[in-house]
């Protein structure tokens, strides 16, 4: 177990290093920001002077090592459009994104797991058929359009809820519905198909033959074994959400990481973009590790020795 943990942490470090390298090359391809920093009428001499002062004339290797050593000290440079550093800006947006992501995932699971289990248990029933249609729609409707339609209905027509922003409970409702529609559909489909697989196995037949009640068979025996795939999907989706629900945050003017990154891209504020991207890669890699460790708790058959 200890050996496994050390190996996984080493892998995590390698992924972080790869992500840093990828970010460096993206920055390199995006071009240097000198032109953006200087006024429109800057002369060639001024541009050349600034390039030299900021180190863009050095060789790619020198630039790379300087970038990595600064990054390891938590220095990703200054935002080109805001007074803060890129790291400060990204950190300031994390609470909003975290709030939205966690609530969306919890609500999605609360909606999806019962639907998936009931659909599987009563396969072919009217409930199952309605659930299938709803989940197929939930996955086909583009999130940003659903968001706009919700604003149109609840904010513009009925005037019940705000069109966007953050602060009060009311601000949360529409973004959460938008995110839940998609994620709950995905979780429910997955829960249904894994529970169906499990229900066909011998040990479930045994549990039934022992005379256990159907709900006990479903929730104690079947769902427990379906939980591995649900946890895997959960880890992946949470990673995506923590990376900023880019589109949902933009539609609802939610001041999170996703919206910050879209705005920074439109403003070509690349230091902020790449800091955000690096942060996301970090979160994703850590979540992968966390998911693998949670397996140990859920499934006694898995061991990493």
């Amino acid at each position: 177990m200890q050996g496994y943990l050390i190996r996984r942490i080493l892998q995590l470090l390698i992924v972080i290093f790869l992500a840093l390298t990828a970010v460096f090359f993206m920055q390199f391809l995006a071009g240097d920001p000198v032109i953006l920093l200087l006024p429109m009428d800057a002369t060639f001499e001024e541009i050349a002077e600034m390039r030299e002062r900021l180190g863009f004339d050095d060789s790619i290797f020198v630039q790379y090592f300087r970038f990595v050593s600064r990054a390891l000290r938590g220095d990703f440079g200054q935002s080109l459009r805001h007074p803060q550093t890129a790291v400060q800006l990204v950190i300031s947006r994390i609470p909003a994104t975290l709030e939205l992501a966690l609530i969306a995932v919890v609500v999605s699971l609360l909606v999806a797991i019962p639907i998936g289990v009931i659909s599987a248990a009563f396969r072919g029933s009217w409930f199952d058929q309605v659930a299938i249609v709803v989940t197929v729609f939930g996955q086909a409707v583009p999130g940003f359009w659903l968001g706009i339609m919700l604003i149109l209905f609840f904010s513009v027509t009925l005037e019940w809820l705000p069109t966007g922003g953050r602060g009060e409970f009311n601000n949360l409702i529409l973004p959460i519905i938008t995110l839940t529609a998609f994620y709950a559909a995905r979780f429910a489909r997955m829960t249904r198909s894994t529970v169906l697989d499990v229900l066909n196995t011998d040990y479930i037949r045994t549990a039934r033959a022992k005379g256990l009640s159907e709900s006990r068979v479903l929730y104690k025996h079947a769902l427990r074994n379906a939980s591995i795939s649900i946890i895997t999907l959960l880890g992946l989706q949470l990673g995506q959400l923590l990376g900023g629900a880019v589109v949902t945050e933009t539609v609802f003017y939610w001041p999170g990481l996703g919206r910050l990154l879209v705005q920074s891209l439109l403003n070509r504020d690349f230091p902020v973009v790449f800091t955000g991207v690096f942060f996301i890669a970090l979160v994703h890699a850590s979540l992968n590790l966390a998911v693998d460790l949670v397996y140990l708790l859920v499934d006694p058959r898995i061991s990493y020795d």
Binding site: V136, W145, I148, G239, G243, V246, V262, L266, V277
Partner: protein
């Protein structure tokens, strides 16, 4: 089967757009702006420049279908070739490619697409390039998995024992057997790609106005939510309808072509 008819309808309307659309999608008519649906000559109403919304929705299907098809064909081909080599030759090649795929998939797809698009610059061609760069990995991973399952089967061993070259084994014996999953995943990927293009254009990257694309029409529509509900409604309906058709078609293909994985 419903999926098939929806897809057919969208493809036909993109081919025959000039015949179906009653007006030129870019013909501005200022006095006629923001007319509601049902106005004579404008069943979907008009937009902020007085352009006929129905014509714009019909012409918008061209962008979506074009981006969807071209991207899937090119990304699918690249991904398939990479997956074939990665799975067949294994060893270090496979490790390197699969780590690359892992890193690629660890960024939120839409964010990666936005960054690439911001670096390449906007416009239709660059959206297609962006989506190819982000899209090939899914195919590579799928094909690689299939190849791993196939390559130790007797008929492949037999072909090798008969002295066929590696390339011949890969392209004549393995490739035909991974075709079915590739076709299935392609039809499902097209809907993802079409939504991705609309999302990118909606956020202000990608296809730029005045070209009629569903994504940038929705972006316009969002700015006029309080006085012209139709501008955000109809392009989005068209997009959701197309995505739904493609998903249903993909599910149907999977159930029909591959009884193993249908449930």
């Amino acid at each position: 089967m419903i999926g098939f008819f929806i897809v057919l309808l969208v493809i036909l309307s993109s081919i025959f757009a000039p015949l179906i659309a009653p007006a030129d999608p870019n013909q501005a008519n200022r006095p006629n702006r923001l007319q509601p649906p049902g106005t004579p000559g404008h069943i979907f109403g008009t937009d902020q420049h007085g352009r006929d919304l129905f014509s714009r929705v019909v012409f918008g299907s061209r962008i979506s279908i074009f981006v969807g098809l071209v991207t899937v064909i090119i990304a699918g081909t690249i991904g398939t070739v990479v997956g074939l080599f990665s799975g067949y030759f294994g060893k270090w090649l496979d490790s390197v490619i699969m780590r690359l795929v892992d890193v690629w998939l660890s960024f939120p797809f839409i964010l990666l697409a936005l960054i690439i698009n911001a670096i390449l610059g906007m416009g239709l061609r660059n959206v297609v390039i962006t989506l190819i760069i982000t899209g090939w990995v899914i195919f590579a991973r799928l094909v690689r998995g299939e190849v791993l399952a196939l390559k130790n089967l007797d008929y492949i061993q037999a072909a090798k024992a008969l002295g066929q070259s590696e390339l011949k084994v890969i392209f004549f014996h393995i490739l035909p057997n991974v075709f079915t999953p590739i076709i299935i995943i392609s039809s499902l990927q097209i809907s993802q790609i079409i939504i991705a293009e609309a999302t990118i254009s909606f956020l202000g990257f990608g296809v730029q106005p005045p070209t009629a694309a569903w994504g940038n029409m929705l972006s316009d529509g969002r700015n006029f939510l309080f006085n012209a509900w139709w501008m955000a409604t109809f392009p989005g309906l068209a997009l959701a309808f197309t995505a739904l058709g493609l998903n249903l078609f993909g599910d149907w293909l999977r159930d029909t072509l591959d009884p193993k994985i249908s449930k």
